[in-house]
Amino acid sequence: MTTLGDLAHARAGDKGDTSILVVAPYEPDDYARVDDALRAERVAAHFGVDPGNVTIHPVPRLGAFTVVVRDRLDGGVTRSRAADPHGKTLSGHLLDLVVEG
């Protein structure tokens, strides 16, 4: 089974109650495959949020994507009760996403 982490690296940041993740394939040739894996509905299911809370911005010239996940940080870094209020650990979670084919 291939997961996103086999093909790409990621970094998580946050703005308020929104997690923003950069995803970049190691090899330019894998761009289309990563693009296929990063469907808003699939990513939303992986993060346990409503599909309306996920936006994906492809940045083809840089060979990267940003994945925006809203309402997953229990209010954001200043008030979250969560063990990781920044959501920094969510990059590791995203890299667990299963890539089909």
Binding site: G5, H9, A10, R11, G13, D14, K15, G16, T18, I20, V22, A24, Y26, F47, G48, T55, H57, V59, R61, L62, G63, A64, T66, V68, D74, G75, G76, V77, T78, R79, R81, A82, A83, D84, T89, L90, H93
Partner: protein
């Protein structure tokens, strides 16, 4: 015009000290910038200043500067946003520090004020993402600071300041200011400000550009993280910048480390809004040009926002956390039982809503509670947390967790309790012309 070299001395208020000392000693820098102000820090500083519980600026910065000063060339300008809620207060302390040191003599210090817009903010300004206005916050409002651009810091440098202390200036603007002054770029022209703002955006998290926050598994190997070197940029007069670090320091700069930092925390890469320019990051070029040497070019702006973002600090009560750990056979089941016990008592004994207490299994899925892992952990920590304005409710949670020692599941140990007073941050916007940053020469 010659190439301008600018270094990043810190990426946040708690950052390491010695990378800046190494940059000061061996980096041959024109400017050294200390980013010390996270989104929430200024609200906390305002609160400290208001309650006379401490300084409204980052006191640790004085130790940071004292460490770098013996190594600092007289040509190197220093900029920091560690002024937080009180840039003039920090500037005065810096003047005293410089006066006491041979390397400090003759350096002129300026403070930038005017980012505090609590008095200018219209009561009906809408809080982003809500139906609330500023007026609705009432006495919970503790601070309102606009993200100001590079202009005021540029005026300070043009007036001969060697050290510039700001509050809530945009992080990238803090770096953009000295670069733009050197190359004669106009802070009111977004096209001029695109390149220095992009350089600032990449440098602002310091070690995150040189391999910090990057190492992962066998494919993302970073040498020497214990002696991570912080980055500098050589910015040419055409705006092209080459990023490097001092030879012999740990870490690495590669296309991948730069790419991660470029898009980090950016919602829409085509429209990254900063006070000085709305950047289009999608067309930026990143090229490795040598060992630990990366060239970044093609910065472009699409105007700049008509309004400035305002960070609003809101008194938010207390965050209480209590946890207790379990190990070995059945650890997860026992920890789950502990969580259930506290929530049940919250309801039936204390008559409160059990859902106000967040319940997590650390070591199992506390970082992603929606996820069901395969297999059981060898050890796990039952963690309970809540937000409240009532300090006695926070104390109640602590008592309930501690009582699990003798009234809960078998083998619970290491109970750990914490209480933090919290300032939440929300955002609003203010018209650019309502904000008037100005320079105060302090020495």
């Amino acid at each position: 015009m010659s190439t301008y070299r600018i270094g990043a001395g810190s990426g946040f208020a708690g950052d390491r000290f010695e990378p800046a000392e190494i940059l000061a000693a061996r980096g041959d820098l024109d400017a050294l910038v200390f980013e010390c102000l996270a989104e929430r820090t200024i609200g906390l500083a305002q609160q400290r200043a208001a309650t006379a519980a401490g300084a409204g600026f980052d006191r640790l910065f004085l130790d940071r500067l004292a460490g770098a000063l013996p190594h600092l060339s007289s040509r190197t300008r220093v900029l920091t946003n560690a002024g937080a809620a009180d840039p003039i207060g920090l500037a005065r302390s810096v003047v005293d520090l410089l006066a006491a040191h041979p390397r400090g003599a003759g350096r002129r210090v300026a403070a930038i004020v005017g980012d505090d817009v609590a008095a200018q903010l219209p009561a009906d300004a809408r809080i982003t993402g809500t139906d609330l206005t500023i007026a609705d916050l009432g006495d919970r409002l503790v601070s309102a600071n606009a993200y100001i651009g590079a202009g005021a810091a540029m005026r300070a440098l043009e007036n001969g300041a060697d050290v510039v202390i700001t509050g809530r200036m945009g992080d990238a603007a803090l770096f953009a200011a000295p670069i733009a002054v050197h190359h004669g770029w106009d802070d009111s022209a977004p096209d001029d400000m695109a390149a220095p703002t992009l350089v600032g955006h990449l440098l602002e998290c310091a070690g995150q550009l040189t391999g910090g926050y990057f190492a992962d598994g066998g494919r993302k190997v970073v040498p020497g993280l214990a002696t991570l070197g912080f980055p500098f940029a050589d910015v040419a007069s055409d705006g092209v910048a080459e990023f490097g670090k001092v030879e012999g320091t740990g870490g690495l700069i590669s296309r991948a480390t730069v790419l991660e930092q470029l898009l980090y925390e950016i919602d829409d890469p085509a429209r990254y809004k900063t006070p000085d320019a709305t950047l289009d990051l999608g067309d930026v070029r990143i090229d490795e040009v040598g060992a630990d040497r990366v060239r970044v070019s093609a910065a472009s702006a699409n105007g700049r926002p008509e309004q400035l973002k305002v960070s609003v600090g809101v008194r938010d009560g207390y965050l209480a956390i209590g946890s207790i750990a379990y190990a070995g056979r059945g650890a997860r089941e026992r920890a789950e039982l502990a969580l259930r016990i506290v929530r049940e008592r919250w309801d039936v004994v204390h008559g409160r809503d059990p859902l106000e207490v967040r319940a997590d299994l650390q070591g199992y899925n506390s970082l992603r509670p929606w996820h069901v892992p395969v297999g059981d952990p060898a050890e796990v920590r039952a963690r309970l947390s809540l937000r409240t304005f009532d300090r006695s409710v926070a104390a109640l949670l602590h008592r309930e967790v501690e009582a699990l020692y003798t009234n809960g599941p078998a083998g619970g140990g290491g109970a750990d309790l914490s209480l933090k007073e919290t300032v939440g941050i929300v955002s609003t916007f203010i018209d650019r012309d309502r904000v008037a940053p100005r320079v105060e020469m302090v020495s």
